[in-house]
Amino acid sequence: MNGKLRKTPFILLGFFLLLWLVGVSLGEPTRVLEQAKSICLSCIGIG
């Protein structure tokens, strides 16, 4: 294995993981689940 460790992807992963955890702590998964469980009339082209 030749090469040099790239740090940028890990910094980005850390940032987005933090963002994701903030969303979890604010209760967003419940809201996302509510939306995803119901028919999105707009997506169908009705609403």
Binding site: N2, P9, R31, A36, K37, S42, C43, I46
Partner: protein, 297 residues
Amino acid sequence: MQTIRKLIQAVWIFLINGFWGFPITGNLYQGPLKVICSPGLNCYSCPAATTYCPIGSLQQLLLGVRFSLQTGHYYLGSFVLGGMGLLGASFGRFICGWACPFGFIQELLHKIPSKKYSIPPLLNWCKYGFLLLFVIVLPLVFVDQFGLGKPWFCKYVCPAGTLEAGIPMVLLVPDLRTTLGFLYLNKICILIGVIVWSVVASRPFCRTICPLGAFYALFNKISLVKLDLDKEACTNCKACHKVCPVEIHFNETPGSGECINCMKCMTEACRFDAIHVNVAGYRLGQPGKRPAVTSHQ
């Protein structure tokens, strides 16, 4: 390698759309898996969908930001954006080439024999406009008296939503048929346009419209897993130009946001081992033996 890729694409379609009980229940899947982010563009209103669509969910959260703040909630979209970012920072547009159901459908359509056309590179920029305007700005800015916006991309553009949810749900729920109008007709016309375009051009939606592809494109140069070029090994023979389904010149622009990382150039074109998969800075696999010839011709 391309056969393996096709198999993986097919597996992803069935994983993301794994609920086949909908003809019995008469409704879409409503289980807990729907809290998982779909890596590719896949409408969560598809009756078989088992995950949420990141673009649809992001719009739904953004359009309700003012309302949620007024009601004491802080649904700002960070959960969805975080999920999208984790996928993008890990794989970039590998997801487009390997795990997107709508991308796979376009590839299959392109196999239909017909005269093939290229897409002007300038149109590639349009997808960034769709991401910025239809997914972020318009749902945030144009709100009704209750402070609620609209999911502009889903409502007025998304052909994946029409194909995967619009048509099946209208067939599944007869009551919905009475409410069809101009919006539905508009979306059907867009879908037909994309289908015809996909037959004559390679992956037109991914290259010019897809906001999720635009988001992942931002990471293509810096993602954990990416395609890389060994400049010393490259002979500039241009063989990679000829096989690329998205018409990029990989040896001139490695890490281009347009590259869907299908690896066709690596496995079917380059004889000099100049293209390889790079994981966090390390080359995946050992360099092969390079031929003594200096060109493909």
